[in-house]
């Protein structure tokens, strides 16, 4: 197995029926929502603002969905590349919103560290992958000392480490998943469940919501919506999980419920994390990159905490992600 094989793995794209099912589901939902939106827009209840927003959101989803699905199906190499790009885009947004982007040296160090993490994932070098977090924190802490300007040291260093931890180290776990041959349905399920989780919370909150969850952080969220999403998302994860993890240690009900609760709760907490950042900065959206959604981070915030937590749950329950495969494809020590 060479690293090139990790980019030429298309024949396994639909090895799992779950991959096919999830892709068909996403495609079906997008296709079916088209006439639904047309109906809503024709209706009298819709004002122009709602119409524009619905269309923008639909178009954005038509664009985003393939950006997530295609690299995952195309192969492990492409998954790693896509995760690296996503990490860098998220960090760039965070840096622009906080002003950290003016610290060019620090930003360069974060970018190099993100690339190193994803290199470790591509290489299937778990030792380096794990070692990079503490080492990078050290590098970021001492990196700007050469500039000899202690003013603002704490702010820039802390922001850089937070950005690296959330968008670099957190998301890179998605990349490392790809070292396991059966990673496709797992990643697709994660994205599917996390996005569905947002939609569940929104819908349940709109219909049953009475009590605000965290009015100062995110005024739109309700306790009812949050709990509803917790139940519904867990149901979805357990249902699909029974098939995805059939025949493995993850198959047991309690573990699948734990997985579902983690996906839902951490997804919502990731959302609230970004809300807190935006509130503190006094901005509404992280950027205007995706029409109808705001920034890349506004769309992917829910994945930030889910990725590392789910990775380590599976890594603990199953016999080590990627451990049964060829190790260190490029650095090849043996």
């Amino acid at each position: 197995m060479s690293v090139l094989d990790r980019f030429l793995d298309l024949e396994h794209a639909f090895d799992s029926n779950i991959s096919l099912l999830l892709v068909a589901l996403v495609g079906g939902v997008l296709a079916l929502s088209l006439p639904a939106i047309v109906l809503v827009c024709r209706g009298r209840a819709a004002d122009d603002k709602l119409r524009v927003e619905l269309w923008q959101r639909w178009r954005s989803w038509v664009f985003i969905s393939p950006c997530i699905v295609v690299p995952i199906l195309a192969g492990p190499g492409w998954t790693v590349v896509a995760v690296a790009v996503l990490s860098l885009l998220c960090y760039a947004e965070f840096a622009r919103a906080t002003g950290l982007f003016r610290e060019k040296l620090l930003s360069l160090l974060v970018v190099l560290s993100v690339l190193a993490l994803n290199f470790a994932a591509l290489d299937n070098w778990y030792g380096l992958f794990v070692a990079l977090f503490p080492l990078t924190v050290g590098v970021l802490a001492v990196g700007t000392i050469v500039q000899d300007s202690p003013k603002g040291y704490l702010q820039r260093t802390a922001l850089a480490i937070l950005g690296y931890a959330l968008f670099g180290a957190g998301l890179a776990h998605l990349a490392f998943f790809s070292n396991e041959p059966g990673y496709r349905p797992v990643l697709l399920l994660l994205f599917f469940a996390v996005e569905l989780n947002d939609i569940f919370a929104f819908c349940v909150g709109k219909t049953l919501g009475r009590h605000k969850l965290a009015p100062h952080t995110s005024p739109g969220k309700t306790i009812e919506g949050s709990l509803g999403a917790l139940v519904l998302t867990t149901g979805v994860v357990v249902g699909f999980g029974r098939v995805v993890f059939a025949g493995s240690a993850m198959e047991s009900w309690p573990l699948l419920v734990l997985l579902g609760v983690m996906v839902s709760a951490l997804g919502q907490l990731g959302d609230l994390t970004l809300s807190s950042i935006k509130r503190d900065l006094g901005i509404k959206d992280m950027s205007a990159t995706i029409p109808g959604h705001g920034g890349i981070l506004d769309r992917f915030n829910s994945m930030l905490l889910v990725a590392p937590a789910v990775f380590h749950l599976l890594n603990y329950v199953l016999p080590g992600i990627g451990q049964a495969q060829a190790q260190r494809l490029m650095t090849g020590a043996g």
Binding site: R96, A97, G99, R102, S107, Q155, G282, A288
Partner: protein
């Protein structure tokens, strides 16, 4: 940390000026700020320009001691060639590069997406549209010049001379600096017209000379129509006398 501390540490966030500008509009935004990619490209581009000017045009600079070393500043010259902006901006301090903006014609540099990306990512240019009412844009530019602070590279004639002779300076320059503590550095460029006049596709190997004059100050000039005209005239005379100097 007690409340009486004379200098309590505090975190201050300054989101980028162009936060909320959609990506397709960012290149032409007057609020654009350079990210890591733009910074690297600026440094590469201007390093290449310095080398090119030295090899192809044997660029000679007199009065280099008058070149600005800190922000803000406005550096101006006569305009007869696309090479002028390269000549004028190439030798400005490398560490200030992200804050130095050539002010360029919007209709030439910011209409087509490819050219617009080049203008923003390599030149770090900001657009000004000549045919529209540009007083609002000039107010934005002035605000940025003073608050960032920034350095502007601009040509007060407003267009390239078609025969190499200098045209009248427009009062827009005055609207940027009148009444503000911003030095204006007058320069004269000789040889750029011969090397690449308007319409030339490929520059010829001609020698180019840059004459940098002493900075002018307009902090006491009134920020109104007569003041703007005065700034334009004074600067034009300064450039004219550099042209006539040996």
């Amino acid at each position: 940390m007690s409340a009486e501390s004379p200098n309590p540490p505090s975190w201050q966030y300054q989101p980028s000026r162009d936060l909320g500008v959609p990506p397709q509009d960012r290149a032409r935004s007057l609020q654009r700020e350079s990210g890591l990619v733009a910074t690297l490209l600026h440094q590469l581009w201007w390093a290449w320009v310095r080398l090119y000017l030295r090899l192809a045009h044997r660029l000679q600079i007199s009065g280099a001691e008058n070149l600005p070393r800190k922000l803000p500043f406005v550096i101006v010259a006569n305009h007869a060639s696309h090479l002028d902006v390269l000549v004028l901006a190439a030798r400005l301090p490398v560490r200030l590069r992200d804050h130095i903006f050539p002010v360029a014609a919007g209709d030439v540099f910011f209409e087509r997406p490819g050219v617009s990306l080049f203008a923003s990512l390599c030149l770090n240019a900001l657009p000004i549209w000549r045919k529209r009412n540009c007083s609002h844009a000039l107010a934005d530019l002035r605000q940025r010049l003073l608050s960032e602070p920034a350095g502007f590279v601009l040509f007060p004639e407003g267009k390239r001379s078609r025969d190499g002779t200098m045209d009248r300076f427009k009062p827009g320059l005055g609207m940027l600096v009148a009444g503000a503590d911003v030095p204006v550095i007058p320069c004269h460029i000789a040889g750029a017209f011969e090397a690449a006049p308007p319409g030339a596709r490929i520059p010829r190997w001609r020698k180019i000379k840059l004459h940098v004059g002493q900075p002018l100050h307009f902090a006491q000039t009134s920020n109104d129509r007569p003041g703007w005209d005065q700034v334009a005239q004074t600067t034009q005379q300064a450039v004219q006398s550099l042209a006539e100097a040996p």
